[in-house]
């Protein structure tokens, strides 16, 4: 008899072994595409940093009390986190669902949609936490002073990246075709990206835009990174963390809902 003994193990929700299975798949796959992924996730924000840092930096030397390069160098950390989480999550999920049928194989194994989405988001968030540091390291080469708070930056990147990863998975879950992504990129990601205090402080914006920025997770990520690098500012940072946690939780549940609708009929 070639059967495995049937263990009376009770299988619950969000099991570690199921998460590990999905993560192992991602890590092994990563070994075959890390070059391109690392390139796009780090080079693009670095170009923004250099272009704005030197372009604007020649006009504006300080902003809000910071050197402009330091200001942009910390701000583009959030850009790098966004680019390395939302986009891979959107495209990766759609490709794995629609073209590679990877998720059919995974869900035939003892893995549920909830575990699948969670593991995928954890993996993307981990990458985002690491890639997010790239602009900061570049800025250090251009004079950003090191500080102990910088050690927290990867964790901020992970937290914000988790939310963006779930946002991307959710988008892929609701999208009927990959072309639908253009709407999300143009109408959601681009405005959020510009009104986040990355390249200029939002205090210069009209009142209504400042209020809207409070609903922009990217803004909170930018602020938190700056405070980590230049010195935490107390309760306001707790507030930023709380917003990012809430964003992550909300996106996580909606992403699971969207993918269940898509994968289970």
């Amino acid at each position: 008899m070639a059967a495995v003994e049937s263990r009376p193990a009770r299988l619950g929700r969000l099991e570690r072994s199921a998460l590990t299975g999905v993560l192992v798949r991602e890590v092994v796959n990563y070994s075959s595409y890390w070059r391109s992924s690392t390139f796009s996730s780090t080079v693009e924000p670095t170009i923004y940093l250099l272009a704005f840092g030197f372009g604007f930096g020649s006009l504006v030397s300080t902003i809000g009390g910071y050197d402009y390069v330091d200001f942009v160098g910390t701000g583009t950390v959030a850009t790098a986190v966004l680019f390395s989480s939302a986009f891979p999550a959107m495209f990766g999920t759609f490709v794995k669902y629609s073209f590679q049928h990877t998720y059919d194989a995974i869900l035939a194994a003892p893995v549920d949609t909830e575990e699948l989405v969670t593991a995928e988001a954890l993996w993307i968030a981990t990458r985002a936490g690491v890639y997010g540091c790239a602009p900061m390291l570049v800025a250090m080469a251009f004079g950003l002073d090191p500080s102990w708070g910088m050690l927290v930056v990867p964790f901020i990147g992970f937290l914000a990246g988790y939310g963006w990863a779930c946002f991307g998975i959710m988008t892929a879950g609701f999208a009927k075709s990959i072309e639908n992504f253009s709407y999300i990129v143009s109408a959601v990601i681009t405005p959020l990206f510009l009104v986040a205090g990355t390249f200029f402080p939002i205090s210069g914006l009209p009142q209504w835009a400042q209020v809207l920025a409070q609903f922009n997770p990217l803004y909170h990520c930018v602020q938190l990174v700056r405070d980590a690098v230049f010195g935490f500012a107390g309760w306001v940072d707790v507030y930023h963390v709380a917003v990012l946690v809430a964003f992550g939780l909300l996106m996580w549940r909606i992403a699971i809902y969207a993918m269940e609708r898509k994968l289970i009929d």
Binding site: V4, S6, A108, A109, P110
Partner: protein, 299 residues
């Protein structure tokens, strides 16, 4: 283990909007047997397979897999099942061994047994010396062997094979049949969907013929042939106009016929009695039953 049936389905219905993909299906797969789901495209075979892994949720009816009730306990059932999908979903940029490693993790093989499990699967897939090849460098037959052994890496008690040899040439097909037959001999329970008659006839202990989401006949292939198509058939060849005449005349004489495309088969011409038509006698086969029961034309 408290159950004699590996799969038990009762009155299972699955609708997609106005379309009923599975319409009241009863299916029993006893432990240690190989059951073939035979039916034309669109008969509901793939939906049935998806229902068994809870990737589709039934609208009505009961489903039990290895004693677990679906969909609530499907995860327990899935842990002891292996699934080969119709569409190849291997990770093409990974090596053969990496693909097996990923599934060894997904199916929770303990660390100490993982290496051995992967080696066993490589031997089964006859890919030991291609272990480091990327999947996109393999031939179609090798990929399919890998796809099947990937589903066996954790020694499942039940294996679901969805159209295991679709689109492959005869040499590759017989290779896969040997693999499936070896699995069957080792006592693993198999549910296999196919629309290749020969595949079902060679591998399945019991065949369930599906049409429009329902089971229209079930039993061992030889018994189905005897019951539905009789012992002998007469092949009458001729130009299309002649075939139409033969069909009409035989029908009027109360004989059962079926079209083959190039001939008319008159069924149930047992004994040595005169039939009134010139043709070649041959034993009735499962294809006769299939066409009789699922219709000559597929919408």
């Amino acid at each position: 283990m408290g159950t004699e049936l590996a799969i038990r389905m009762r009155g299972v219905v699955k609708r997609y909007g106005p379309i009923t993909a599975v319409g009241g299906l009863d299916l029993d797969v006893p432990i240690g047997t190989c059951v073939g789901l035979l039916g034309p495209n669109g008969a509901g075979k793939s939906t049935t397979m998806r229902l068994l892994t809870a990737q589709s949720i039934a609208d009505e009816g009961e489903i039990e897999v290895l004693g677990f009730r679906l969909p609530d306990e499907s995860k327990q059932a899935r842990a002891q099942c292996g699934v080969t999908p119709q569409l190849d979903n291997l990770d093409t940029t990974l090596t053969v061994e990496q693909n097996l490693l990923v599934f060894a993790h997904l199916y929770r093989i303990p660390r100490t047994e993982r290496h051995e499990a992967i080696e066993r699967a490589l031997v089964m897939a006859k890919l030991v010396d291609r272990r480091d090849s990327r999947v996109d460098k393999l031939s179609g037959g090798m990929r399919r062997r890998l796809l099947i052994s990937r589903a066996l890496v954790h020694r499942p008690r039940l294996v679901l094979l969805d159209e295991p040899t679709v689109g492959l040439d005869p040499q590759v097909r017989q290779e896969l049949w040997a693999l499936i037959d070896a699995l069957r001999s080792s006592g693993t329970t198999i549910l296999m969907s196919t629309h290749y008659i020969e595949e079902a006839q060679r591998l399945a202990d019991t065949v369930l013929i599906m049409s429009h989401g329902k089971a229209v006949a079930a039993g061992p292939p030889s018994k189905l042939v005897r019951e539905h198509a009789g012992g002998q058939a007469l092949e009458v060849y001729g130009p299309p106009a002649r075939l139409a005449e033969v069909e009409a005349e035989a029908g009027a004489a109360g004989m059962r016929t079926r079209r083959t495309g190039t001939s008319i088969s008159i069924l149930g011409v047992d004994g040595d009695g005169k039939v009134g038509f010139e043709g070649e006698r041959r034993p009735a086969n499962l294809e006769d039953v299939f066409v009789l029961l699922t219709g000559e034309e597929i919408a």
